[in-house]
């Protein structure tokens, strides 16, 4: 009986929402999107700001995860998608039309830990990180760790590895990095939003990983830079390709993307982990909005391209406020130029109209 009442309540609520949306659709054109959770704070900020720039459109974004975003875009139930990892060839083939990746912002994945006395600035080499996460290094005072951290006292205790238990773009960036720096990792585990972790405990979401690390002495794990910053977690400097130990920051992430800018492919499907460049932080990643190159609905297409243009110009300026790294100028310019490829069904470009 109670369930019945709850259900009818739900029906009324759904009907009310449907009516409300139908009502406002007359005034504004609503564009629906779904996908990645990592850039969600940035996107919602952008959509609210853009609502003031163009009052005739309204953007609605559901942060259901990159996989879900790609699925919904492929089924054309949303007007745009968003993903933390580039779509695979297989996924692109499954879509009914060519899909473009538009880079938006970048983020870093930082190594955080809970060892009494260790503050931000533990020095980690790629080999050490890979060995810890494959279970080859099991003690904090392992020779390789001591060698990278002269003068730092490391306890003779077991390392507790913590990773994400949920599928996530953060895990994708981290495992992509490990796959580049360690052949052993590539052979045994590989890259993905969820992988078969050789060792460790799984925490759900950044908050789950953080909770486990805070509650578990001698643990180490990875979270997004934004998350580590806002929760005052200690994080490590990571040795990059040039041999420098780099502190993760918005600048060192943008430096990584700048290093990648020269060889940026035309479809922007690129990984910026382990980039060259003395200032580049090696565990960094890009996130993308996904749009169909041919827009079925010319009106919506026009609004969408208008937003993308604004996002690549003015939108980039507000990214650092939310601790996201803006695109390097070269990449933003290249992305702007690519918007000209988005057309209506009869081939008319939508940019600038």
């Amino acid at each position: 009986m109670r369930n019945g009442r709850y259900l009818s309540g739900m029906t009324i609520a759904v009907a009310a929402v449907a009516l409300a949306t139908a009502g406002s659709a007359h005034a504004q054109l609503q564009l629906n999107g779904a996908g990645a959770t990592f850039p969600y704070p940035m996107y919602s900020k952008w959509f609210s700001l853009y609502g003031k720039v163009d009052t005739t459109s309204r953007f609605n974004y559901q942060s259901i995860g990159s996989g879900g975003g790609i699925k919904q875009l492929t089924e054309q139930t949303v007007d745009f998608g968003a993903s933390d990892g580039p779509m695979t060839e297989e996924q692109l083939r499954a879509a009914p039309g060519p899909i473009m990746h538009v880079p938006t912002v970048m983020g870093a994945v930082v190594m955080t830990y809970n060892v009494e006395g260790l503050k931000t600035g533990l020095r980690l080499t790629p080999e050490v990180i890979a060995d810890i996460f494959t279970g080859r290094i099991v003690k904090w005072n392992d020779g390789a760790l001591v060698k990278a951290n002269p003068g730092v006292e490391l306890p003779p205790r077991d390392i507790v590895v913590v990773h994400r238990s949920d599928g996530s773009g953060t895990s994708y960036i981290f495992t992509d990095y490990l796959s580049k720096v360690s052949q052993n990792w590539l052979d045994k585990v590989g890259r993905g939003t969820a992988v078969s972790w050789p060792v460790g405990l799984g925490g759900k979401g950044n908050e789950g990983v953080t909770g486990l690390i805070k509650q578990t002495p001698f643990s180490i794990g990875y979270v997004e830079l934004i998350y580590a910053r806002s929760n005052s977690l200690p994080y490590a400097m990571v040795q990059n390709k040039a041999g420098e130990f780099v502190t993760p920051s918005l600048e060192s992430v943008t430096a990584a993307a700048a290093a990648a800018a020269e060889k940026m492919p035309d479809d922007f499907r690129v990984s910026i982990t382990d980039e060259a460049g003395p200032d580049a932080y090696p565990i960094a990643g890009m996130t993308w909005l996904l749009v169909y190159q041919t827009q079925r609905d010319a009106e919506k297409g026009k609004k969408l391209v208008g937003f993308l243009e604004w996002m690549l110009k003015d939108g980039q300026k507000v990214a650092p406020d939310l601790h996201y790294a803006p695109l390097p100028a070269a990449v933003a310019t290249k992305a702007l130029a690519s918007l000209a490829k988005i057309t209506t069904t009869d081939g008319t470009p939508l940019l600038g109209h």
């Binding site: 019945g4 959770t37 259901i64 995860g65 990159s66 996989g67 879900g68 790609i70 699925k71 695979t88 297989e90 996924q91 077991d158 507790v160 238990s165 949920d166 599928g167 996530s168 773009g169 585990v189 590989g190 890259r191 993905g192 939003t193 969820a194 992988v195 078969s196 972790w197 460790g200 405990l201 799984g202 925490g203 759900k204 789950g208 909770g211 486990l212 509650q215 578990t216």
Partner: protein, 342 residues
């Protein structure tokens, strides 16, 4: 309806007279029966509505099974029964085995029952048999309030309160006292099977307690007084009068709790450690079917990966059904034994 005639039983036909077998006198009970109109529109509507409600629920269950089966068909065909018996879970290599999750679900729920049944039934017995009446209502209310706490709150409480306590106090004590058993060996991180089962136990106690309390309160006073009149102590009265009478109801209460434990997702995910591995030690991290679905579904991108997760949902449904069927059989058995014994 109440028959005032002694030893009255309704006759099979629509006659309104009831025969008293002892005296062969006919007693007219017509004035005592409520009038039954042949056709009542309200009754018909009510009947239609309830029938529709029942049919809807059946249709929902059937369609869930059909959709789960349909959506996971590819995975079922690819992995077959091997899905249920293999242990490797590697989304990158597209190799999936459900055994660690089935094991984790069953063991964590069973361990939760081991803790929650004495706690829940004990609380219900105390409230129904021993507690002063001014204490009964507030305590029963507080226990039921436990059921109203959202599971994510339980999870957070688990991470910040239970996990450190388990690591620093519970597991060292268990390792000291019961460490000769393989279940209580190995390193303890605080998160793991044991902690998950403890959270589950707290979550299902209110279900067990409130249903068991209701059941105990239906035990006829006369039966209790009879036991006491025979010289039973309070404990003996509970043992011979209350517990046998409430046995079936209590088993029902426990099964309700078990159903909740099998499907619980959020709180378990936050404290179980999410490691798809079968470890004998209860200190070790584990993973359940519900938690892996919640963890990996949103980012599952390949078709096979999604199908496998849907298949896990199907397996969870079947496991829950099997457990319920077993419980029903148990209730029947116990019921038979109970009536045979009396």
């Amino acid at each position: 309806m109440t028959f005032h005639a002694p030893h009255a039983s309704p006759s099979p036909s629509n006659d309104v007279a009831v025969r008293d077998d002892m005296t062969t006198d006919w007693v007219d009970v017509t004035p005592m029966l409520p009038r039954r109109p042949r056709k009542n529109v309200g009754d018909l509507i009510f009947r239609g509505l309830t029938a529709a409600a029942a049919c809807t629920l059946v249709a929902v269950v059937v369609s869930i099974v059909v959709v789960l089966g349909w959506e996971s068909f590819g995975a079922i065909r690819k992995f077959g029964w091997g899905f249920l018996t293999t242990q490797k879970w590697d989304p990158v290599a597209n190799e999936y085995g459900a055994l660690p999750f089935i094991y984790g679900t069953l063991v964590s729920s069973f361990l939760a029952l081991v803790q929650a049944v004495p706690l829940g039934v004990g609380t219900a017995l105390f409230l129904s048999e021993m507690a002063p009446s001014w204490l009964r209502t507030p305590v029963a209310f507080l226990v039921e309030l436990l059921a109203a706490i959202p599971s994510v709150v339980y999870g957070l409480w688990g991470i910040f309160v239970l996990v450190p306590w388990v690591r620093s106090t519970v597991t060292p004590w268990l390792a000291d006292t019961l460490g000769f058993l393989p279940f209580f060996q190995g390193p303890s991180y605080g998160v793991g099977m044991l902690t998950a089962s403890m959270i589950l136990a707290v979550m299902i106690v209110p279900y067990i307690t409130s249903v068991a309390l209701e059941v105990f309160q239906t035990v006829p006073i006369a039966q209790r007084e009879g036991a006491l009149a025979l010289g039973a102590t309070r404990w003996e009265m509970i043992r011979i009068a209350v517990l046998p009478y409430g046995r079936i109801g209590v088993i029902g209460a426990i099964m309700l709790g078990l159903g909740r434990a099998l499907g619980e997702t959020m709180a378990v995910t936050m404290v179980i450690g999410n490691r798809p591995e079968i470890a004998l030690s209860f200190f070790a991290p584990a993973s359940t079917m519900a938690s892996v679905i919640a963890n990996e579904f949103s980012e599952a991108s390949s078709d096979l990966y999604v199908q496998v997760l849907v298949e896990l949902g199907l397996v969870l449904l079947v496991v829950t059904m099997l457990v319920n069927v077993l419980a029903r059989l148990l209730v029947w058995r116990v019921g038979d034994v109970g009536t045979a014994g009396h």
